[in-house]
Symmetry: C2
Subunit: 218 residues, 2 copies
C-alpha cells in the first residue's frame, strides 16, 4: 500500500520507517523538497522510502497521515492540497499543543472543537480518522514494548476509512480488540483533551513508555 506522511518530525519518521519495514511504500512529505531529515530518511530507507513535498506525499498516498503539530496542521494540509487529499483516508495523529512563555501547556482548539474536526470541515472530501495521538511514537509502532493489553482509540465519520486505519494498526501489532472506535470525528475532542494527562503522567513517571488500558466490568 502507498502512504503519504505529512510532517518529518519524530512521529512522521517513526511511522514512515514502520510502514516501510512492513513492505509499504512511503513518501515522507515536508514543507520544502530540500528538507534534510526527509532526504536522509529516504536515503537510508531503501527503494520503498521516498522524500517529497507535502503535495507530493499527499498525491502519492492512498492513505495520508497528518503527523504535523496540531497548531500548524491546517496550514500544512492546505499546502498538501485539497485535490490531493480528496477521497483519501487521512489519519490525523496531531495534538494542538500551545506552549506558553512560562512553560505551561494548553490546547487550541479545545473543548468545543478539535483539529480532527477542523481538518474534516476544511477538507470534506477527505476521510478523516483521528488515531494514534494518545501515545508516544515508539509505542504507536510497537505496542508490545508495554506489557498486557492497552488501548488506542479511533474516531471518524467514514466506517471504511476507520477499517483501513484499524488494519494498519493491526499491522503495527495492535490487537483489533484493543482499538476502540469512539464514533464520529467529534470524539477527536476527547482524544486531543487526553494530552494534558499524558504530559502529567510523563512528568510523574519520568518517561514516555506508557499507555492507557481501559478496564471494564464485563
Amino acid at each position: 500500500m502507498r502512504f503519504g506522511i505529512i510532517g518529518t518530525g519524530t512521529v512522521g519518521r517513526t511511522l514512515a520507517a514502520k510502514l516501510v519495514s512492513l513492505g509499504h511504500e512511503v513518501t515522507l512529505g515536508s514543507r520544502t523538497s530540500d528538507n534534510t531529515a526527509a532526504n536522509e530518511w529516504a536515503d537510508r530507507s531503501g527503494p520503498y522510502g521516498h522524500a517529497g513535498t507535502f503535495t507530493q506525499a499527499a498525491e502519492f498516498g492512498e492513505v495520508v497521515i497528518n503527523a504535523t503539530a496540531g497548531t500548524v496542521s491546517l496550514q500544512a494540509l492546505r499546502l498538501a492540497g485539497a485535490e490531493q487529499l480528496a477521497g483519501k483516508v487521512l489519519v490525523d495523529v496531531s495534538n494542538p499543543l500551545v506552549f506558553s512563555a512560562t512553560g505551561q501547556v494548553s490546547l487550541e482548539p479545545v473543548n468545543t472543537d478539535s483539529v480532527g474536526e477542523r481538518i474534516q470541515r476544511e477538507f470534506p472530501a477527505a476521510r478523516v480518522v483521528k488515531a494514534l495521538n494518545t501515545v508516544n511514537a515508539d509505542v504507536m509502532v510497537d505496542p508490545a514494548r508495554l506489557p498486557g493489553t492497552h488501548n488506542l482509540f479511533i474516531a471518524g465519520e467514514d466506517p471504511e476509512a476507520k477499517a483501513v486505519v484499524r488494519a494498519m494498526l493491526v499491522e503495527f501489532g495492535w490487537p483489533s480488540a484493543a482499538v476502540l472506535d469512539l464514533g464520529g470525528i467529534t470524539a477527536a475532542r476527547s482524544l486531543e483533551m487526553l494530552m494534558p494527562l499524558w504530559l502529567d503522567l510523563m512528568r510523574h513517571f519520568g518517561h514516555v513508555d506508557f499507555n492507557y488500558s481501559i478496564v471494564t466490568a464485563d
Copy 2:
C-alpha cells in the same frame, strides 16, 4: 473521622454511605436543611449519618468533600463558608460539565484553568485535593468491581492533605500504588479534561463500569 459532604447527588450519597459503613461519621450537606434526599439518607444511616446545610457539613468535617456539579461548586462552597473550610482537607470530586441545547457536552472552565484551581484560589486556607472525578460513583467506593489494577489520580498543593485523601482511598479498597500523585493543583486541568473521554467511553460500552489503568514499561 468526621466527614462533611457538600452535595446530595449520587456521588455525595454514595461517598457518604461508604464512609459511614467504614465507621466514619458523616454530615451530608445540602443547600437547605429540608433537603429530602439528605434527610432520608440520614434517617436510614444510623447514628453516624447526619443531614445538614452546606455550612453545617463543612463545619462538621475534618475532611470536606465537594460532590456538587463543577459549574456550581464555587457557589456551594461560598454557602459552606470560607471560615468553615479554613485548614480543612477539601476533596474536589467535581467535573464542570456544561450541557448544550443540542446535547453536546463541554467543560467550563477548561484548558487554562479548572474547578480545582478555582476552589484553591478562592479558599486559600483550604487544602484542596482533586480526586475521584475520573470514575463513576460505584467504582469510587468499590474498585474491586473492576478486574485487575486500575488507577486513580490525586493533585494538590498540600502533601499532608494528599496523604489524608490517599488513606481514605485505601480504606475504600484502592491499593495505595494505584493512586498516582500528579503533583500540584494545576493537574486538576488534565483530570477534569478526562471527562469527555469518559463520556465517549460510556457511549462506546453502554455502561459506566470502567476505569483507566496506566500501563508502563517498567
